[in-house]
Symmetry: none
Subunit: 210 residues, 4 copies
């Protein structure tokens, strides 16, 4: 592996929290207002009232800034949501698999159409398509946690005999998530509660007659 020119790593302890938050806010605002391609590092710096170097010191690229800003936003949102509940994030387990998953998917539909999330999420997803590293980080940090919840719920359903024993939960969950994701990413169809409900029904009981 090639070792970099060894820019002496900046001292994290002296980092300005104020600047960091301002940069996150500016980045998210600009992405929503003018779109990802017209969002520039210079623009973020100006809007955040920050020197460009402060951005280059702590992040490697525009995508990095956005990724962290979005993670921060998600964490905040989670905190807000989690404040009221004990177990901040888990798919409910009422015993009725279909109902539980439908409920979660409806929440996902709400989030995908929330304008606060829409633009940055889309921008990140697009960058991730073209830039494998960003894609993998996006995956690992933003999607993997939710995916794990599906895996857990499906395993539990499997133990309860509601899902066939041979089924691989990591593949099965894609029937709920991927069609929705594709409709959202590629504008291939409308995103509604009806649609997600149908997805669950089709997936659980199959297309072939019983």
């Amino acid at each position: 592996m090639v070792t970099q020119p060894a820019r002496p790593a900046p001292d994290t302890t002296r980092r300005s929290e104020r600047s960091r938050r301002a940069i996150y806010a500016a980045a998210l605002a600009l992405i929503s207002e003018v779109g990802y391609p017209k969002t520039t590092i210079e623009g973020i710096a100006a809007r955040a009232g920050v020197g460009k170097q402060t951005i280059y010191r702590w992040w490697g690229s525009k995508a990095d800034v956005l990724l962290e800003a979005f993670l921060d936003l998600s964490a905040q949102a989670a905190e807000e949501a989690g404040a009221s509940e004990q177990e901040p994030y888990a798919i409910p387990d009422t015993g009725d698999l279909a109902a539980d998953i439908k409920a979660v998917l409806r929440a996902t539909v709400d989030q995908l159409t929330d304008p606060r999330f829409e633009a940055p999420a889309r921008a990140l997803a697009a960058e991730g398509v073209v830039n494998e590293q960003v894609g993998r980080e996006y995956m690992a940090n933003l999607m993997e946690p939710s995916i794990q919840l599906y895996v857990d719920r499906l395993r539990s359903a499997q133990e309860a005999g509601q899902v066939r024993p041979g089924i691989d939960p990591r593949i099965a969950l894609e029937f709920f998530i991927s069609p929705l994701a594709q409709r959202w990413l590629q504008y291939t169809g409308p995103i509604t509660y009806d649609y997600t409900d149908t997805l669950v029904d089709y997936a659980l009981y199959g297309l072939a007659p019983r």
Copy 2:
């Protein structure tokens, strides 16, 4: 709606076919070699031995050029493939729905991993995520035709009693396509024949025990 400054539309009949082909070739080559973001209009023009204005005269953006270049590439590929067969593009109908769809998906896997298609397809998909217009054109021109084939095959299966009567084919087909698409786009998992075969089995017979 605001009408643009209305640069008088160029005369299509006098367009240089030579330049058009050179531009397509240069665009596809550059995308594969240096990636979408580092592919510049200037670079395409230089590589194609063409003036920049010739690109700006006929296309509105880098994405437009790439879209057309890719459509052209696909059309060529289709022509090559179709030359040998009578019915150039249709899902086979042997009576065995599962086998037929597995075969088609295996072909799709091959295409998605063909390096000739990979980079430009990915670039276009990414642009389409962020730029709705490109997204819709990508959909309409590149994906819709194949999707229709699935719809037809599923309808035929429905008539043969191999698919439940109430099933909506436009939703059902997403079980085959979307998971594969998401794995490809977002690096969420490996793409293999085994995987697509499994998708078909799960989708047709459902997750719940029979």
Copy 3:
């Protein structure tokens, strides 16, 4: 000597008079309206309702077009002026050298401040400063004739004993013309009748006391 690619000389007899006049008019108008540097061959062609090639066929450069246009304008002006007189252009010879030259210079002042002539004349002069060929043609075609008139008048004065015998008229006339030219070209001072009258007096009788 290298013989050019030998573009077959165009047939002058078939040349469109209509286009030629339109090009002259457009060139002069544009120079006056937007200045020399912003006057483009494309602009002249568009304004004249003429193809670019028609300009390139008959002229070698923007300066060439302007030079001919200006010559044409001058010829027209001369014709108009000459229509009323018998001897269209000559410095009057009343026997009073000072008065005669003052009269001619006053006419020159009028011309230099005529807005119809100002812009193109200035543009040509400027081009001539930097482009020796244009400079010499400008000289030969536009200034030499007038200069010859001064030479003649000064010779006649010499014969009449009003100018010292040893004086070289080609140098002497510069005392009348050059200061005026420089004030006009380089904005080094105002251009008035008073000024030119003074020039004549100083030049004829010298600066040193008599």
Copy 4:
């Protein structure tokens, strides 16, 4: 007066002296080598090893760059010349007006034919003809100082009784300068010591017989 979009004035104290000098050198070299019209800002930047923006940041146009570069060159030349003398710039006053002015004019002839000065001076003069602002700056910065010296010397001569009392020195000096300037600018005649000597004689003693 309309105030411009007001790009915030750059900080002069942080300006790179290195770049400035490189730009002057590149500009003067290019003008001499390829002429004014083929000298481009892009070319200057490339030759100077400088970004284009660095030129646009500090100068408004090609003419501005050249003007300052030439002023700098003149200042340097003056410094070199002035290093040896006490009074760096003044027309000598030996009591013999004709001899003194002849000497200065001979020096001017030398400068006008010095290839180092020729091209840029000519380019500037041409631009000044067509662009009044440049013309006036050229005048004020490059010619006015020398002109003042003539005025002083003529005044002194007037006090000594060598020049008629009524003579206006600002007009009289044009007899020495303008004919020479015109010959140089417009290629209307050769520039020699003989010629300038003659100018002085004619101007001082007049054309009319004594």
